[in-house]
Amino acid sequence: MPEGEKKSEEPVGQPGCLNKNCWLAKTLNHSPYSRCQYCELKFHQCIFLHYQIISIVLISLFLTLFFLIEGRVSELVIICIFTLVIVYGYFLNKSTDKIIKANFAQREAKLALEKLAEKLEERVDEQTKDIGEKNKYLEELLNMKTDFLRVVNHQLNTPLAVMKGYFSMMEEGSYPPAKARPAIKGGLERISSTVSDFWDAYELEGEKMKMEPQKTDIAQIVNGLIPEKQNLQLALERKLKIEVQKPEFSAQARSAFGGEIPLVWCDYKKIAHVISNLLDNAIYYTRQGGVTVFYELVGKNYLKINIKDTGSGISKQDQKKLFQKFSRLKNATDLRPDGSGLGLFIAKKIIQGNDGEITCFSEGADKGSTFSFTLPIYKNQKLTSEGEKSPIKEEKIVIFGKNN
């Protein structure tokens, strides 16, 4: 059996191994007895050999016996013995066959199991790695959430504590109500703005917030906000200069949109909220210098609004994380004491909802930063029939914490 010979190099126990000690393999390994290819019974275990030895011993025993008893061996006895030996041999041989087959099947099953185990191990390893990575990510997320909730807790509790203090003193009569009232009112406003921020963030995550685009004059929003921001305590303390750069669009462009700055198509209230938020941020993170707002055109269809400050700047690494929810930058300027930490996340979602894009540019820490966003220029857009154009196109599911 050439195939068997070829495979005889295989180690013992593997299919294809030829047990050279096996008499069966050496002598009878041809049809219809070519069955020892997988026989791994060792020489002394080979049942075929046992059966042969027993047969020879039996034959000699019987022959000797008859010779001793009768002085000669009757032919009948010889024939009987040989018939018996052959019948006996046939059955034994059959059982040997069975044993070898069973052995073979067992071996095959064992090998298959081993293979499966190996594969399983591989898969388990792979999946363990995968789970580990996911776990790490989830842990990170959980930490972020814990941190965030800690801040939320603080943010909500602080005005409550103040209000409670004033209120209880007012009730005791040890404090004039006129003096306590503005403090309580301020606290209430702080709480409601924090809560509404969280609600906005929640709504935007599920993209439930509907945009109501309309013809909007951005310049009007900005010009309205600037005096308000200029009077913020922090801006006054730091003597920040907040100004709008006069746009220098070409005459051709100006005549195309019929004014200094083109009207845009966006949700007036929400965009005003974003601009106010960006200005606040710029003021908070700028210790000296100022904040400048300037406009650019992007192609023919978009207006870009830039808010540039001379503040603490943002490292390249942190710029990636800037617009994520719950993310807090690790460097010095991570959170405003009174901010919810959600402002930029909300801003991004609102801008996206209005078919625009928000970006941040900073050359690095302490080099100032520029926040820019685009909005579509008004060109006779109309509300879609239901009045709710589905605005957010990308990122169907917002995965917070994952780098965009």
Binding site: R150, V151, N153, H154, N157, T158, L160, A161, V162, K164, G165, Y166, S168, M169, E172, S174, Y175, A183, G186, G187, Y284, Y285, R287, S312, A332, T333, D334, L335, R336, P337
Partner: protein, 146 residues
């Protein structure tokens, strides 16, 4: 910062380390009205100096105190550790006065040697004052025994 260099009043001198201006105002008004000397600061370095040189009878310590550049930070722990390390100030009772309400924070402040933990939102100024009076009393008794 409000510093008073008058003679120590009978009731005691309180240092409030707190960044929330309105809270400082309330406690300033309330505690002075009730006969306490009142000092306050929102700067940790300054708070440490005040603790050492003014020797207040008690410190009310907020944990979340932003750094000068407006970063939220839990600077209160640093202050607490520093005060307890300094032999001149380690016997001054420190009351953690905060808006953090986790068990972990409570345990941490206890371990770091704070005398009490007051959750800001739950207490009116009067309740805080009563707690303060109690702690000052015990700490003075302890001092007298020594």
């Amino acid at each position: 910062m409000v510093t008073t260099n008058v003679m120590k009043s009978k009731k005691g001198r309180i240092l409030l380390v707190e960044d929330e201006k309105q809270l400082v105002d309330i406690y300033h008004d309330f505690l002075e009205m009730n006969g306490y000397d009142f000092l306050s600061t929102k700067d940790i370095a300054e708070a440490l100096q005040l603790t050492e040189f003014e020797q207040p009878d008690l410190v009310l310590l907020d944990i979340i105190i932003p750094k000068p550049e407006n970063t939220i930070a839990e600077q209160g722990w640093e202050y607490l550790a520093a005060v307890k390390k300094n032999p001149k100030t380690k016997d001054i009772p420190i009351v953690v006065f905060t808006n953090l309400e986790t068990h972990r924070d409570r345990v941490k402040s206890e371990k770091m040697g704070a005398s009490a933990y007051i959750f800001k939102r739950d207490c009116s100024p009067r309740e805080v004052m009563e707690a303060i009076a109690e702690i000052i009393k015990t700490s003075k008794e302890k001092k007298n025994k020594e």
